[in-house]
């Protein structure tokens, strides 16, 4: 059975099909096996979450989506488990506000832990309803019924049987459910059914295959970049060379030789459209524009950390477990030695594989459609509605696979650009950025400094203070339902609404006094900034734990303790200790109380450990690096990862997801730093923003999955990204005795450290 829903085909499977809307890319999503009309989407209706097709297989309507890590497969397994169906008999229709409720989109690794949990409840409720119906039909009590593979049988008289298909196949559930009133990640519903006991699980723990791999290799389905709507125009934006400048005059005649090319200019928003894509690109390059003369918005790149240190803070906060500041100072007074270090981390870019793309078909008197690669198509649709002056229900947001996304990348901006250009031209518009926009103007992971201070008495920590000072975690919100968070909207006058927030380390280390605080500083530019900050995969996790775990290492060595043993002595939660121990054991940890500096010729070799929690998931990583003492080049050869995210639903997909996190995390550790001049970001392509090359990949990634069958699944999409940078830095220290306190760990920084 083909579980991939090819959007150009109608779902295979028996039974009548209703196709309510025929739009490119959505035919199959609108197609269901219902004989009757589906009730309008409503969180109170079971039919909004799940349906049974005529052939007895199920469709779950997922208000999140899979970004290529197999989240949909995991969710299908959860639904299948409660329905006693094999995983391949559950189809997931995802990320379309026309077919699913708003479950928050892809967000914070909650696809399975939240989104899947909700649909699992829906599946349990569906089974409950079907058993009630079967009980009536077969005239046996519900307790006497058993389900397997879509067949319902009387246990006392196996001759009496029916099936999901017979009971409700091809029709919609007409069942009201009690939901919790929360739209987004937390949307959930109650079920009257008792959820399955983990001991009975059959589908959890199996490696059901991905569903999006074949079409991605054969080129048989649409990415968002492939969506075509009749009469569609191609659009490009023209952004200023000096950030903050706005167009003051535009010479439309300068593109008059390009067929059909037109200028769209509203306040600071400047774009061109043309029927052919290449013509739109040419026009965007050829258009003569005079820009306003503004002050250069940024300091010199080398001043970035001084700037952060000296900037006034506009918001501060910290861990809920913090004590009175006076108590902290008192604890430090009791120390006989205080050690302190500052760690620095640059802006980093999503630099998705292609610049973001969106298609909008503006229909003021009907339904406007947005096709987007955004992780949050429901919210992005709401944002587009607002900027177009429409009601949310007048916009359908449809997700189609895009060029990668790791948080709040440039996809949200593309959606608003396409919407504004579609409205301005009265035509469907496909917008895609150019490479310099994808890397130069996407929302960035914020630059930061982290100061960690430990008060020691008799070789023991008596006071611990972790403090971050940084650009805003959410200068633009990751949610996209408010157009203020998008470049295009800011260009036409929407004010930015910064979130002013940050985060603190997550671990269970016990110190007599432990304080974790932060402060954020204003952005360089209030709005339309190429250095605006937002979520980048495992938001703030890599840099915060680079500092936290780096400093734990520093304290261990300062007090003559082995880094693994020291962490084991500090961690108060047994799951944390299990992960640390599992990684160390599997990696063959070499106990030491000082950097080993094992050297052969020009190559120094080292091993480092780092640990962190992330919303309940725990990951410990041992990295092994070779440092070339002549060139300063770091090669992280091997990673051993112990991963505990509760119950493991799909071991193979989880392992591959972890491998991706390790390699992307390594890329950020050794390469990635957004460069800028006083005028603008100068990291604008793959030469100026290099990422990991295949020649630099780790040769071994050893993954130890710690399965907790009795615990619910926690997020696994980015937990293993978190300790990568720290593990690499700690391994570099073991190899060379050089403590990296500023990333990324480029040859220049290594050489400077070793000099």
């Amino acid at each position: 059975m083909n579980t991939h829903v090819n959007r150009r085909h109608i779902l295979a499977g028996s039974g009548a099909l209703t196709i309510s809307v025929l739009l490119p890319g959505v035919a199959a999503r609108a197609a269901t096996s219902g004989l009757d009309k589906r009730p309008p989407l409503n969180p109170k209706q079971l039919a909004s979450y799940i349906s049974i097709r005529a052939d007895g297989s199920a469709i779950a309507y997922f208000g999140k989506m899979d970004m290529g890590q197999g989240t949909d497969v995991g969710v299908a397994q959860m639904v299948a488990e409660e329905l006693d169906l094999p995983a391949e008999k559950v189809i997931i229709l995802a990320g379309d506000s026309g077919t699913s409720l708003n479950q928050g989109g892809a967000s914070g690794s909650t696809g399975v832990s939240h989104g899947g949990a909700t649909l699992r409840n829906a599946a349990a409720e569906a089974r409950f309803v079907m058993l009630e119906l079967a009980s009536k039909q077969l005239d046996v009590p519900v307790e006497d019924l058993a389900t397997a593979n879509g067949v319902i049988t009387s246990k006392s008289n196996p001759a009496k049987k029916t099936s999901y298909s017979e009971i409700i196949g091809g029709r919609w559930f007409d069942t009201e459910v009690e939901w919790n009133g929360k739209i987004g990640n937390d949307l959930n519903m109650k079920t009257r059914a008792k959820l399955k006991d983990p001991k009975e699980y059959k589908v959890y723990g199996t490696s059901a295959p991905r569903r999006d791999v074949e079409w991605k290799l054969l080129g048989t389905d649409d990415y968002v970049t492939d969506i075509k709507v009749p009469g569609m125009l191609h659009a490009r934006t023209i952004l200023p060379t000096r950030a903050g400048a706005v167009p003051v005059s535009v010479d439309e005649a300068s593109i008059k030789d390009i067929p059909g090319a037109k200028v769209i200019w509203e306040k600071a928003l400047l774009g061109v459209v043309a029927p052919k894509e290449w013509d739109a690109i040419k026009a965007s390059r050829q258009l003569k524009v005079t820009w306003s003369d503004v002050k250069a918005p940024f300091p010199e790149q080398k001043e970035i950390y001084n700037h952060i240190r000296n900037a006034k803070s506009i918001k501060s906060g910290g861990s809920a477990k913090n004590v009175e500041p006076a108590k902290v100072e008192e604890a430090f007074k009791g120390a006989d030695k205080i050690i302190e270090a500052t760690y620095e981390w640059p802006f980093q870019s999503h630099a998705s594989m292609g610049p973001a793309c969106a298609v909008v078909d503006y229909q003021p008197n009907g339904i406007t459609t947005l096709w987007t690669g955004s992780q949050k198509p429901h919210f992005a649709g709401d944002g587009v509605a607002k900027i177009l002056g429409l009601k949310p229900e007048q916009v359908r947001g449809i997700w189609a696979a895009g060029p990668g996304s790791y948080g709040r990348n440039d996809a949200g901006d593309a959606a608003v650009f396409a919407a504004l250009f579609s409205k301005a031209t009265g035509k469907p518009v496909r917008y895609q950025g150019m490479r310099h926009e994808g890397t130069g103007w996407d929302p960035k992971g914020p630059a930061s400094i982290h100061t960690v201070r430990a008060g020691l008495k008799d070789g023991k920590v008596v006071a611990w203070h972790f403090h971050s000072k940084a650009f805003d975690r959410l200068n633009v919100s990751s949610n996209e339902s408010d157009p203020s968070d998008n470049l295009g909207a800011q260009m036409i006058g929407f004010e930015s609404k910064p979130g002013l927030t940050y985060a603190t380390p997550e671990e269970s280390y016990a110190f007599p006094v432990k304080q974790q605080t932060w402060e954020v500083i204003p952005p360089f530019l209030e709005k339309v900034s190429p250095l605006r900050s937002s979520h980048l995969r495992d938001p703030l996790g890599p840099e915060i734990h680079f500092a936290n775990e780096g400093f734990i290492d520093e304290v261990a060595y300062t007090t003559g303790q082995d880094p693994v043993a020291y962490r084991l002595s500090l961690a108060t939660e047994s799951r944390d200790r299990d992960a640390i121990k599992a990684a160390a054991d599997k990696a063959g940890w070499k106990t030491r109380t000082a950097a080993r500096k094992e050297t052969k010729g020009d190559i120094a070799t080292g091993q480092g450990i780092a640990f962190s929690q992330r919303n309940g998931t725990r990951v410990a990583i041992v990295a092994e690096v070779d440092v070339n003492l002549k060139t300063g080049k770091v090669h992280a050869r091997k990673f051993t990862v112990a991963h505990d995210c509760g119950i493991v639903i799909n071991p193979r997909l989880l392992t591959q997801g972890i491998e991706g996190n390790i390699c992307q995390g390594l890329s950020r550790a050794v390469h990635e730093e957004v460069m800028f001049s006083k005028d603008n970001v100068t990291s604008v392509d793959w030469l100026t923003y290099p990422i990991l090359d295949i020649t630099e990949r780790p040769h071994v990634i050893d993954v130890v999955l710690i399965n907790r069958p009795n615990l619910p699944p926690n997020g696994a999409g980015e937990g293993s990204m978190r300790p990568v940078v720290a593990a690499v830095a700690n391994a570099i220290y073991d190899a060379t005795g050089v403590r990296m306190r500023q990333g990324p760990f480029t040859p220049d920084r290594l050489k400077a450290g070793m000099a």
Binding site: M67, G68, Q69, G70, P209, R210, D212, V213, E214, K216, L217, L218, G219, T220, D222, Y223, T225, D226, K228, H234, K276, E277, W278, K282, A351, S352, M353, G354, P355, A401, G402, P403, G404, S405, Q432, M434, R435, R652, L653, Q656, E659, G660, N661, I662, C663, Q664, L666, S667, D685, W686, L687, I691, L692, D693, I694, T695, R697, P698, I701
Partner: protein
């Protein structure tokens, strides 16, 4: 000025009217409506737009459409013969390589060309052929497994 240009793509002859300087990528995507090659950078830096021109991997984002003469262009979709995917595609599918998959044209087409010349490459030869290609989702571990698997097929 637009010019009449003939192209041979995936075994079919096409005639388009296009600016001779237009990169091949836009002819494939926009004029022929093919969805395989992707725009990643337009700068020959990533490989997302890779096609084979007479068996050689070429970055279609910087290849002028009028420079091809009688050459045969193959896209990733065009590797499928009589409904059967190429062994490299099969290996990438079996290894479940792609995350977003936007980069796949580069890795697959370059691997096809590599295995044509060097059917049993060493890891070093694989690295040599694939260096420079980008995968932002960082699926490097799966890519290596898939290339080795294809070489064994």
């Amino acid at each position: 000025m637009a010019k009449r240009i003939e192209l041979n793509v995936d075994g079919k002859a096409h005639t388009i009217d296009a600016d001779p300087d237009m990169p091949l990528l836009y002819a494939l995507r926009d004029d022929l409506g093919l969805r395989n090659p992707k725009f990643g950078c337009g700068l020959a830096q990533c490989g997302a737009c890779t096609v084979l021109v007479d068996g050689q991997p070429v970055r279609s984002c910087v290849t002028p459409v009028d420079s091809l003469g009688k050459s045969k262009v193959t896209t990733m979709g065009g590797l499928v013969k009589d409904g059967k995917p190429h062994k490299v595609q099969e290996a990438f599918i079996a290894e479940q390589v792609p995350q977003c998959g936007y980069c796949m044209n580069g890795w697959v087409m370059t691997t096809v060309a590599l295995l044509d010349k060097t059917p049993k490459p060493t890891d070093a030869q694989i690295e040599d052929a694939l260096t420079g290609l980008k995968c932002r989702c960082a699926t490097h571990a799966s890519i290596m497994r898939a290339v080795r698997r294809a070489a064994q097929a």
